[in-house]
């Protein structure tokens, strides 16, 4: 039967205070009535008012509804309800009428939605194909102008040199990023912001010029590819559009027909909060296909994140691939079970073997710059103790063939990996950014993997 883990439930909370408030509601004592069946969990929660709030959750996707007046979504009662459910405290019961009504109205809506574009994409009614073409052409024109502006800006930057650019204030970069957002090219804006980040931490990282030139190269390639987009192979053209910032509707993804069912191990998860925007990213490793895909969800303040698959566990699910980027982004169509323990980690025998697929991926999507990588039996090499004043070298991860890559994690992340290994060889899965490796899951030989980041 479908339930969510505590971590997943807390991840649903729109902010930290809602998560905390939710935990305080997760007490059986607060709920005069509480129950669950195959499809839903529900309960009445005593709030400050005289009537209890009616709160309910659908178990297939974690959607919730509550009669309280909170503007947060999900509200603390819904989080409390899901936490009680996760702890197995909701007893099997017969569904009350008000829950049945809600489930019915949801099913109704889902049928209608399948025919309509998903929220977040261009939401206008798709009445007139001509008007639609006109809108698409208008957007392309805007992007054309943005790309031309960015090209000139990049040329000026190259002329003045990276050393000069590195000393520019944040606003200088931010202004350009905003211009790209105005040009409806969010992907370009994000890359400009990444340049600003490289510049900002330049003083602490001796390799910043290399990273900045790498980023500039990728950005320039986007500009030039856009201007020659008619002559690109279709897969690369699709990757380009996605990287520039064009989104695809759920319907488009479903129509592309790339559905895949497998048991997926979630070997990496990152949850970012940037002001109002929350982002969840997971790397899903397919057990029988060997394919690795990326699940991505966004939520602005007040909305909840679609939780993805249970982190640090294996579960069977049907996914749909987005056309375009490598590795593929996916949509979760159906979860077939709840998570089971991870089991041993997959992985290549050496770094060379693990990184050999990079060229193939980049041949389709040259902007694939953050890649999931798994290697077995690597040894953590802590940097030599900081010699007097000099900077300690990076920590390395050495494979069985004696070759090594730098570890990108924070000090805490490196310590966790070192502690887990105890100096023995470990199997790791994580992210390769072209310069260093950030481990996200690890396992000692013959043991179950666990998330460490």
């Amino acid at each position: 039967m479908q339930t969510f883990s505590r971590e997943q439930v807390l991840g649903l909370a729109p902010d930290a205070s809602a998560a905390k408030a939710g935990q305080s509601q997760a007490s059986r004592a607060r709920w005069p009535s509480l129950g669950r069946d195959e499809q839903a969990a529900w309960g009445e929660c005593q709030g400050s008012g005289s009537n209890p709030y009616r709160c309910q959750a659908a178990l297939d996707d974690g959607a919730t509804k509550c009669s309280c007046p909170s503007r947060k979504f999900p509200c603390k009662h819904a989080i409390g309800l899901l936490l009680l459910l996760a702890d197995g405290q909701a007893p099997e019961a017969t569904r009350p009428a008000w829950v049945g009504e809600w489930l019915a109205s949801r099913a109704d809506r889902q049928v209608k939605q399948a025919a309509a574009p998903a929220p977040g994409a261009d939401q206008k009614p798709r009445a007139d194909p001509k008007a639609q073409q006109r809108r698409a052409a208008n957007r392309d024109k805007k992007v054309d102008a943005g790309v031309e502006e960015l090209r000139r800006w990049l040329a000026d930057l190259a002329r003045g040199g990276l050393a000069a650019a590195q000393t520019q204030p944040w606003q200088w970069w931010d202004q350009m990023a905003r211009r790209m957002i105005d040009a409806q090219a969010r992907g370009l804006a994000n890359r400009v912001r990444r340049l600003a980040e490289i510049a900002a931490i330049g003083n602490q990282r001796p390799d910043w010029p290399e990273r900045m030139l790498d980023e500039l190269g990728g950005l320039y390639l986007l500009c030039e590819a856009w201007q020659r987009r008619e002559s690109l192979p279709p897969a690369t053209a699709q990757a380009l559009r996605t990287r520039i910032g064009y989104t695809q509707t759920t319907l488009e993804v479903l129509q592309a027909g790339q559905e895949i069912t497998d048991t997926w191990a979630v070997l990496g998860q990152r949850l970012d909060e940037d002001g109002q925007l929350k982002t969840l990213q997971q790397w899903l490793y397919g057990e029988s296909s060997g394919e690795v895909v990326s699940y991505l969800a966004f939520a602005v303040s007040g909305q909840s994140l679609e939780p993805g698959l249970p982190p640090g566990a294996r579960s069977k699910a049907s996914l749909a691939r987005y056309p375009g980027t490598a590795p593929h982004r996916v949509l979760i169509l159906k979860r077939h079970d709840e998570g089971r323990p991870l089991g041993p980690l997959p992985g290549a025998g050496t770094w060379d073997e693990a990184l050999s697929g990079v060229a193939t991926l980049m041949a389709v999507d040259p902007w694939a710059d953050l890649l999931p990588v798994a290697v077995r039996t690597v040894t953590v090499l802590p940097s030599a103790a900081p010699a007097s004043r000099g900077q300690a070298g990076p920590w390395l991860l050495r494979d069985a063939a004696g070759r090594a890559v730098p570890i990108a994690s924070t000090a805490e992340g490196r310590w966790r990996l070192l502690a887990l290994s105890g100096g023995a060889p470990v199997d790791v899965a994580g992210e390769w950014d072209g310069f260093a490796f950030r481990p996200q899951a690890a396992a000692l030989a013959g043991q179950d993997g666990q998330l460490i980041a």
Binding site: R159, L216, L355, W415, L420, G423
Partner: protein
Amino acid sequence: MTYWTELVDAAVLGTRRATLPKPAPALAELAPAEGKQDLPDRLGLLRQAALASRARRAGFVAKEASDRPAPTPAPVDDRPAVSLAARRRLAELMVAGRPELVTEWVRLLGRAGRRPPEALLPALMTSAAGNQQLREALAPVLGPLAKWLATTTANPAWNWVLPRDRAGDLDLAAWTTAAHRVRRELLEQTRRVDPAAGRELVTATWSGDGARDRAAFIAGLGTGLSADDEPLLNQALSDRSFEVRRVATELLARLPGSEAARRATSRAAAAVRLDGMTLVITPPTEITTEMAADGLQSGAKAGRAGHRGWMLTQIAAAPPVAWWAEHTGLEPARLLAIAEGTNWADALRNGWITAAIRDQDSPWILALLDLSRTHVGPHSTPLMNALAPADLAGWLAGRPGDSLFEAFELVPGPWPEDLSGAVREYVVQQLRTDPDAFGRYGHITQLRRLLRIAGARLEPPALPQLEQPEVHPRLLDAWAELMNTLSVRAAMRRELEQEP
């Protein structure tokens, strides 16, 4: 120099100043033909960067590192691992910032005889460095891995994991140059193994040290105090700084055989004596040179009791508080009761409070706490702080209903059987009270606070399950949180017993 690094160097300078390198042969054919470019040099760099950066990524090869030494693996820890659920629970508690529950989890881990989860050990060791209770719970369950981590990473925050230095290894040479805090620690460690060596450190730099240093170092003699320290303490009695004199007086009072202690008891005996069942109290009217030299102050800081009262307070505080029982032949409670009936009640009580806290004397502190709250009120927290937690728990178990709620915070969890039982009974009774019966101002607030604390410290069994309508609406939050915490703690116990 590879083509890529040459390109990076050129990019740092910019195309206005630098000449671009010749593209690598493999890239040359992809590079744009000369003359076709709209802005030749500048775009030349960007185009080359686009090609070269993609080529570098696609063709990346890990570097040879066979010769770099790897750490010797940590010795094997034979204890079984904890279950996945237990590991996740600990991770959640650490993220949620529940240090009390983390500490309890670690204690239970020791009881279950399992090893700490490896990946969470670094974070535990870091938190414990700044949290004494966690450190005390964690130290006995640390295995070989902890020591190995502290040595391998040389992380200074984990030094506490390594065995303490012995005196021979202490860097006594640092005494003259190190910072205040380091010198205090050095003195403390030296005194623990070799008090004479510690005293020599203090005298060595005495004339050059500032008042703050001198006061701290005299206080440091409190570790390993003996009659050998008397000359130095006597010398400190004539110090320029009041704080140095005060600390020296306190230490001398703890040296039963000292001249200063003898003077203190004879002054006290002269000022207060028992005649039948009445106290005859005659505080001195004038401060003598000898008294001043012993650290007594004149009435400049006159309290309510005036000049002579202040003299009496200081004289009563000077001897070890236990001496009063010998002197009068009375138990503290009895002596206090008689003193309360005199005109000098405040002055005497204040002196005894100071002495009882200084000497951490349980019978005296308990007797003082039993006095009416109006008299001891402002001192109750320092008094309770000076009491051993077990004694305080015993005392509180007898009176949970007393509004000394703040006292509960001073007894760390898990609360002993009798205190847990008393609190449980009291809480249930209070929760069921008719809402209108809570007349006293602030009572609800304090009760809410007690509920919050009790959640993390009550020894199981948990509270009986109450029906919601029975609970006062304003206590509902705190009560639900209490029940929640108790259920988390019950789950912790279950999960730690599960097979991994």
